[in-house]
Symmetry: C2
Subunit: 145 residues, 2 copies
DNA sequence: ATAATTAAAGACAAAATTACCCTTAATTAT
DNA sequence: ATAATTAAGGGTAATTTTGTCTTTAATTAT
């Protein structure tokens, strides 16, 4: 469905929303370990999310790390997709036509349309905070049994 | 959503179902042109679909090409995903966890679940033929305005 | 039989994605 | 001020996906 980069971005954002605060920043190492992602690659993705402090914030130096503000927690989850440039994901034709349109619909268009809208809705109605509250803090992403 | 390979496979299958018959086989060149895909790459994908004649059939030599039997037209669209090894697409966790399960659901699991089921349903209930009938023959995949 | 045509098969190349490493800059603690 | 810590940034490497090309095999038409 999503690229690895986007998966890591979503997991990292939710994790940071669960565990961080302005007084308790999370290091790259902790985040990457918690969400089971390659640290260096995760660093790049976190940079995208901190660009213009659009989703998360970061501070360098001792006791530095990543955190998210209460305000940013109220952002739609869609903002994460935007930061990864994968926000147009759900505008696309499921069969890969250059343009998904009602005028020249592909054979799957009208059946896919309501599903597509639910996917868009999913990332629109949920705020980062709401997602963060959905699972208990302990073993959020450790389901690798 | 899908890989290029899968997109081409779906488009090619639907196109072949629309235009081919045992007496009117379609050449690689015609198919690739019609569905707007790179010919050589499309050749590889058509090979996957003809493997064990699971979805489409092919004949070499003059007046050879690709076609689909009436029987195969009754196959679920899901068979195309299977041939491309992308059938497990909708079993996966939307956040990329190794396992999508009810026991250890990710924060999006229960909201994503009904959408996932509709996606699965989409590829289960539609036969290749049904999709082929959904659009007129002329400019099926030429929506590149 | 021979030549022409078409897909199959394999090797290869390009591009994109994913991942890693090293240096730099910022911040903090001492 | 100095040293330690941490993210930022740049370059590069590995892997996967996408795309190309050439040869081979099968089939048909002559
Ligand atoms: S045209 Fe294919 S999904 Fe809209
Ligand atoms: S566990 Fe994430 S979608 Fe089911």
């Amino acid at each position: 469905m999503f690229s690895k980069a986007t998966e890591y971005a979503l997991r990292a954002t939710i994790y940071i929303a669960q565990k961080s605060s302005i007084t308790n920043k999370l290091s790259l190492a902790e985040i990457a370990n918690a969400i089971d992602s390659p640290p260096s690659f995760t660093a790049k993705i976190l940079q995208l999310l901190t660009k213009d402090n659009c989703v998360i914030n970061s501070v360098r130096g001792p006791n530095g790390g990543f955190y998210i503000t209460d305000k940013a927690k109220q952002l739609q989850l869609r903002k994460v997709l935007e930061a990864l440039n994968e926000n147009d994901m759900f505008d696309k034709c499921i069969l890969g036509l250059k343009k998904c349109s009602e005028n020249k619909p592909c054979p799957m268009h009208f059946q896919y349309k309501p599903i597509k809208q639910q996917l868009i809705h999913l990332f629109h109605v949920n705020t980062i905070q709401q997602l963060a509250e959905k699972t208990d803090h302990r073993n959020l992403f450790n389901n690798d049994i």
